[in-house]
Amino acid sequence: MNIPDTTDFMILGFTVIFVPMIIYVISLATRYKKYKADIIYLENEE
């Protein structure tokens, strides 16, 4: 049985899933830090 070689597409597929996913996790983390800093700033202003 001849199995087609689609390994390149497999790698590409996993890349397009995991790269944006990691970017999203990073965005959650940076937003969290930013909001924390904002809150500390705003509470000090008061």
């Binding site: 497999m10 597929g13 899933i17 705003l42």
Partner: protein, 232 residues
Amino acid sequence: MKEKPIGLTILNVISVILLGISLYMSLVFAPVEVNMGNVQRIFYTHVSVGWLGMIGFLLALVAGILYLVTGKKRWDIIGVAGVEVGLVFCFLNIISGSVWAKATWNTWWIWEPRLITATIMELIYIAYIMLRQSIDEPDRRARFGAIYAIVGFVSVPLTFLSIRIWNTIHPVVIASGDAGADTGMNMTDNMQKAFFFALFTFTVIGVTLLWHRIRLGFLSDKIEQLKMKMVE
């Protein structure tokens, strides 16, 4: 919103471990699919991210209903979290599907019911974000968001059922009985194990990410309140 809850830390660790195992199962444990080759291995993750996206939208629906019933702000915050996570993962579902399509159908995109309905679903929730951005009063924003999340959810079961309503070349995974016998994939035992494990993994990842996103929502709400106080 104090320190990070211990449950969330545990979930973080579990998510990463599960993701590792799931990747191992789809890359090594599951056998190669004979007709499509290795590219079929993204199937486990491809379906799971789509599943997670739909969970996000379902959460937005439930939160929307609860917001309209109770009027509690927390449901609004949870609803937004559901939509955002849903949008991200449905997008991953679409682009990974596109790569798979290129490998098996030799085209990045075809106009086929599943792809159309999934795209419509994505567009609806982008419109949800735009709707929220163009309303200034927080109460009205929450109310309209909840309503739109309810109306827009109609697209989710449609997307799920689209491959059953219309004839299509998109494979039916959870085929009932003889339906889709010709288009359905014949999964071997190990493939099924990898598939259900991936679904479970991404459900856990979803819970973790939603929790993080909801915490973020509460923080930004607190900021808004602090700013309001300063204006007064």
